[in-house]
């Protein structure tokens, strides 16, 4: 018996097992849903092509100076508000995690307030604070009328940045808590101070958890800057609307603004990918491939896959 069993594998041809040739299952539901989806998409495209839209106006104004100026202001506002948000967020997160009950309660209250009220309302409130404060008085350093001090730019910056800080605080807190306590212990056991442990050991590891949602926040922020048009700050949306009113192509200019937002968020997404990749080092055995590497690998595997096919043909 055992001899027979030993023989059987030797009898099979050395070329390996025969590949299975079977008729695949037909997924008719998939064909139907694909046709329906394409029909709907076609309908939407057709509707837009029939509308009285002057598509030519979009390329005409795409690189208009006022639009480019608006794009620059949108970017500036995004970056500065995010900077305020990130710095404030880290500060609030550390405050919330501190053992001091006063600082942790203040941080809790801040987050509660700014997360609990709509950012549009906050922006309008900042804009109208002049009704409450006639002057701004920072003692010997600075004194001015509120309306001169609170320019639309500063209103926008404070409104967006302070609101963002509340969200970033929660993201940073989650990141700091995600780092294993053993890391802090090991670092303390080596004689490192609290501050050094935080800076050298905990934060670099927390970044892996913090970066992806922060990238989301940046993209969100870029879009949220459009709310700032209500406080008279001439960013991208406002610039587009202004042109729309004078050129008689209001809807087209909104499409133009949308296209710019889409372009900018796409660029940010690529940047986010590389940043995540940087902070992933050490967390997995090999880093995820860059898009370029993926393309190259695909091309290589396609060509290597086609080779055996060519051999059998």
């Amino acid at each position: 018996m055992t001899v027979d069993i030993d023989k059987t594998p030797a009898d099979t041809p050395p070329a390996g097992p025969e590949a299975i040739k079977a008729i695949p299952v037909r997924h008719y539901g998939r064909y139907v849903s694909a046709v329906v989806a394409i029909a709907l998409l076609g309908g939407v495209v057709y509707a837009f092509s029939q509308g009285k839209i002057n598509w030519g106006a979009i390329p005409d104004y795409f690189f208009d100076d006022r639009i480019l100026d608006g794009v620059g202001k949108t970017l500036l506002l995004t970056i500065l508000s995010m900077a305020i948000g990130v710095i404030g967020g880290v500060l609030l997160a550390v405050m919330r995690l501190s053992k001091n009950p006063v600082t942790s309660s203040i941080a809790w209250f801040y987050i509660w307030f700014f997360r609990g009220t709509p950012v549009l309302v906050q922006l309008i409130v900042w804009f109208n604070l002049g009704l409450v404060f006639e002057y701004i008085n920072l003692g010997p350093f600075y004194k001015d009328e509120w309306s001169d001090f609170m320019t639309p730019f500063l209103t926008a910056l404070l409104g967006l940045g302070l609101n963002e800080a509340a969200y970033m605080a929660e993201i940073c807190r989650a990141g700091l808590l995600s780092v294993d306590e053993g890391q802090t212990e090991a670092s303390h056991a080596l004689g490192m101070s609290h501050a050094k442990t935080l800076r050298r050991i905990v934060i670099p590891q927390a970044m892996r958890v913090i970066v992806p949602p922060t990238g989301n926040e940046v993209i969100n922020m870029l879009k949220t800057t459009s709310l700032v048009s209500v406080v008279q700050y001439p960013e991208l949306l406002r610039a587009a609307q202004d042109i729309g009113q004078t050129s008689g192509a209001p809807a087209e200019m909104l499409f133009l603004a949308a296209a710019w937002y889409l372009l900018l968020t796409s660029i940010f997404s690529v940047g986010q990918y590389y940043l995540e990749r940087y902070y992933a080092r050490g967390s997995s055995r090999s880093l995820p491939a860059t898009p370029f590497q993926k393309i190259r690998a695909n091309v290589l595997s396609l060509s290597s896959r086609s080779k055996p096919k060519g051999g059998t043909a």
């Binding site: 053993g182 212990e185 303390h188 056991a189 050490g282």
Partner: protein
């Protein structure tokens, strides 16, 4: 022989749970001191008290003649500042059960981190020393690898090199081989044996009775937060006097 660690009636409780209920012992300079006992007996907690990762509630604990975590003036105790505790920890190396290597740094970066950041050693010099230490634990060729690219045994040996980089006068080992595959335990124990031969004072919490018997100079059996039996490892392990020790050893040997 001078005394490296001295414990006098050390108590430690976590909330209502008393983990250590009066530990008295002495570790002499240059000896390998093994702590054994069932889980929950407080041996790891005691080890963590020695470098003040845990605060003791009562009793006195001395390392190299100095009180751990406090300063005594007359009959008053003053708590040490965090920075003062950190300075004392520089001289005490610790190796953890779960290695706790810094995952975002390569092996050699792990080893140079504390000398560079804490002692202010130059990077080049620290690196040279780190490569020497990695060679000593048999990992010279893994210097550029991240912890995730190393096996458990290799990670633990890097962790030992990392602790040694601070030139400690005392090394604490908290079940250094418990999280390892049986196959990998030997390499780590070899490094520890080598370290013991070089004259390092070592306190080792372990379940490796073979290691304790071969390398240990003293052994303490703990249970329920107290020292049940102590003596030379060979004597305690082969001829335990206490009932509790006998029943424990009959299960693990």
């Amino acid at each position: 022989m001078t005394v490296m660690v001295k414990a006098e009636g050390v108590h430690k409780s976590f909330g209502p749970v008393e983990v250590l209920t009066g530990i008295d012992l002495e570790v002499k300079t240059g000896e390998v001191f093994c702590l054994i006992g069932p889980s929950g007996s407080g041996k790891s907690t005691f080890l963590r008290c020695i470098n003040h990762l845990e605060k003791i509630n009562a009793g006195r604990l001395y390392v190299d003649g100095e009180l751990v975590g406090y300063r005594q003036k007359g009959d008053k105790l003053y708590e040490l500042k965090d920075s003062e505790v950190a300075v004392k920890r520089r001289d005490i190396g610790m190796v953890f059960q779960r290695f706790n290597l810094f995952p975002h740094m390569t092996a050699v970066e792990n080893v140079i981190e504390a000398p560079v950041q804490v002692k202010g050693v130059g990077k080049g010099k620290a690196r040279e020393r780190a490569l020497e230490l990695l060679d000593r634990v048999g990992l010279a060729d893994k210097a550029g690898n991240y912890p995730s690219q190393l096996s458990g045994g290799q990670q633990q040996r890097v962790a030992i090199a990392r602790a040694l980089a601070m030139d400690p006068k005392l090394m604490l080992f908290d079940e250094p081989t418990s999280a390892l595959d049986p196959e990998l335990v030997g390499d780590v124990l070899d490094v520890m044996r080598d370290l013991a031969e070089s004259g390092m004072t070592m306190i080792v919490v372990t379940h490796e009775m073979g290691f304790a018997r071969e390398v240990g100079d003293s052994l303490v059996f703990m249970d329920g937060g107290v020292v049940v039996e102590s003596g030379h490892p060979r004597e305690v392990l082969t001829n335990p006097q206490h009932e509790r020790t006998k029943s424990f050893l009959s299960k693990v040997l």
